[in-house]
């Protein structure tokens, strides 16, 4: 196998040796597998949410507590952050320096934190309106599913910071590049999960 054959799209490992390319293939594939496993967790929490939807136990109902406006803004923020991470990936692939890469990562991080801030504000509002997880089965399901996504965004943000530090410390060596690529997959994955949350949780909640 020649080096070009196994070159992973999105990675520019330059003229490093064949072994590095092969290992990059396994490393990225392994992360896809991890995401698949994580997707199973989310799928089960969605199913649980569906099962518990009617278990409001006389407490707040979805229509009463969901604020579609802020959920929509959060969606936009997260989608934009996926775009900016895309720009970071392009910068990593085509640029020789890493100034632009770091700049796009910083923008993505800022958007991620903005999303988290808004989401926490939403939760606080819900708590204020008497919609807290111990109130009913429905709210338990909501507060297991949506904050788990938020927790993922939080760890994605921590990871983003770690990777920015690593770019500064190590430059763009093969491991840093592979890990930024994995972080990208993770970040886009969270976007997809959020789109499902927006559709299944927020939009569906407004129908009732």
């Amino acid at each position: 196998m020649s080096a070009t054959e196994v070159r992973h799209p999105g990675l520019n490992l330059g003229d490093t040796d064949e072994v590095t390319h092969e290992e990059a293939g396994s490393a990225v594939f392994g992360f896809w597998v991890f995401l698949m496993s994580d997707a199973v967790i989310f799928a089960l929490l969605f199913a649980t949410y569906g099962v518990m939807l009617r278990g409001t136990a006389g407490g707040p109902t979805p229509a009463a507590i969901y604020k579609i406006g802020s959920a929509f803004i959060e969606t936009m923020i997260l989608l934009t952050s996926s775009f900016t991470f895309g720009m970071a990936s392009i910068a990593m692939k085509h640029e020789t320096g890493y100034g632009r890469l770091l700049a796009w990562m910083a923008v993505t991080l800022a958007l991620g934190l903005a999303f988290l801030g808004m989401e926490l504000h939403d939760f606080a509002t819900m708590f204020g309106a008497g919609a807290y997880p111990t109130r009913s089965g429905f709210l338990s399901a909501f507060f297991a599913l949506v904050p788990l996504h938020g927790l993922h965004v939080f760890f994605g943000s921590v990871w983003m910071i770690v990777m920015m530090v690593q770019v500064l410390v190590f430059g763009l060596d093969a491991r840093v590049k592979i890990n930024i690529l994995r972080l990208g997959l993770f970040w886009h994955f969270l976007d997809i999960v959020w789109i499902v949350i927006f559709s299944v949780v927020y939009l569906q909640g407004l129908i009732a």
């Binding site: 293939g25 396994s26 496993s37 199973v40 278990g55 111990t134 089965g137 770690v162």
Partner: protein, 694 residues
Amino acid sequence: MSQGIWPAVLGRFDWTALPFVRAWDNPTASEIIGAGAASVVIIGAVVAIVLITWLGKWKYLWSEWLTSLDHKKIGVMYIVLAFVMLARALIEAVLMRMQQASAINSPGFISPDHFSQLFTTHGSIMIFFMAMPFLTGVINFVTPLQIGARDVAFPLLNSISLWLTGGAAGLMMVSLVVGRFSTGGWSGYPPYTELAFSPDVGPDYWIWAVTLGSVGSTLTGLNFAVTIYKMRAPGMHLMRMPLFVWTALCTAIMMIFAMPPLTVATALLALDRYLGFHFFTNDLGGNMMNYANLFWLFGHPEIYILILPAFGVYSEVVSTFSSKELYGYTSLTIATMAIAVLSFTVWVHHFFTMGQNADINAVFGIATMTIGVPTGVKIYDWIWTMFRGRVRFTVPMLYSLAFMMTFVVGGATGIILAVPPLDFLVHNTVFLVAHFHNVLIPGLLYGMLAGYHYWFPKAFGFRLNEKWGRIAFGCWVIGFYLAFMPLYVLGAAGMARRTQEVFESAFRPWLYIAGVGALVLLAALAALFVQLWVSIRERDANRVTAGDPWDGRSLEWSISAPPPEYNYAVIPQIHSRDSFYAGKRKGEVYAPPAQYHDIEMPKNSMTGLVIGICGAAAAFGLVWHIWWLALLGVLAIIGAVIARSFARDIRRTIPAAEIERTEAAWLRTVADATPIPRQIETTSANQGLAEIAA
């Protein structure tokens, strides 16, 4: 202790959490047994520490084992863990059988509460800390060797999986000494395991031990799926892989998909217990049926996670000891994949009686019976492999034969249970207990033991003692039939499972027979330990350094025993199935390559060990509400992961000269060894070089 600073430091711990204190306050047989078990744990730990210190082996243990990323050593450590846990859970089984045999119209010697803990720990340990580590260990040791790789795709992740499992098993042992375990059975059904009914630490021990173990298994699955997809030697197409690798692949994929439901189930139960959520509670919109679905969405694939690797072992063993190519290779791979897929479609048969309508039960009943088809295909394939072969009745082969006959019986009773109306009759009786032991003991334990005997010479360079192996085999088989056939009778007669006291005198003879069976099984385990002891003492007479003691067929037999750290000095080129066997016939093996190259291997790392210990500490903190410890453990894990991501000096190079020395020494051994015919492979004449017969 209930005032001031202590609750902040020690959480909800108090002195009565210690079984010694309980036994002192209330010296009944039940409490004394509990205190005795705790003493065994403590004395065992102290003796181990003293012994290692006495022998001055800490450094060796640390650098050669605990921090090793070598898949072979990780595999061995998994299997050691499995044997330790097997010993505990088997003793618990014997205690339960003795209790039931002595508790016919009398209370017996174990209290109901203690009895409930026994069946919960027995089940949890046998599944999560005996079976899973055992099969993971065998997969770890064998798979990279069979696909011609030097290690797994993610060696550090492998070590993390091991130590998460080890930490979880440690938590199980700690629960013997501090506090008590769950009484909710191995499946931990709420609402019984909710705070309202079980406010004590027991279910929390269960939740966190199982969660740590299941995360470890998910990572193992990920690792081996990638290893098998990406790291096969050139020329080894999927349809040239040894069948064991096929089963390892299907197992790995099933772990990726089936362990997350367990993690979700335990996590949601934890949210209920710790933060007052209402997933599975009786009130405020909780729905325990969702737990049953989540748990068995894991639980049923889990059964095939346990059984498929054993099927792989049998395929290797039957083919090798019949001196024949595996019959129906293609059908076996298809059957393996079919089982893996179907196993996700049958989970409802674990709760036919819990209220869904007859149509749903019918669908799941039919799906369940369908699994019998690929399994039947496999049995026929193994029989045809033996047909007109030159079958040698070695210990692994004996286990394979016992498996085929016993497993078919278990499969047949499984079909009975798959018919919903019949299931209603025997649901929750010991008929079910007999059934799943009847599939899991031959379908897992015999397979793993066959694998242990088969690959032990490869791992350590000497054969296991044949005589003690046969004694252990005899005890496992006789013990199994004595212990579990009576349970079919009792179950059909209506005896409920998990019964602490029996009020039907007619059950007495059957319970006595089952009790004797349990003792025979204990003798089987003892015989295995004696065998290991004897084999180590006589190791010099039984060395098979040349590496091919059984006239093997797959790649792992083409290298020295034990294999060098890097497995293959030169990655082999594969031209066919059973390529080593074919190569031997063509005289293409044991030839040094034109040139050796440097090999890069991962350096040792303590990251896995640190994560395992911190995970167990965090879990212990959560169990006892020692919040600072839980927080510290979690932060330490995150810190360890980040710190590791900054490590760059993570590989070491083995120079070509060193490899050449190692390989030359082994090739000299091969040249000096006398080839032996298969008939005398179980004698000391076996030096690991097979005579080439037609």
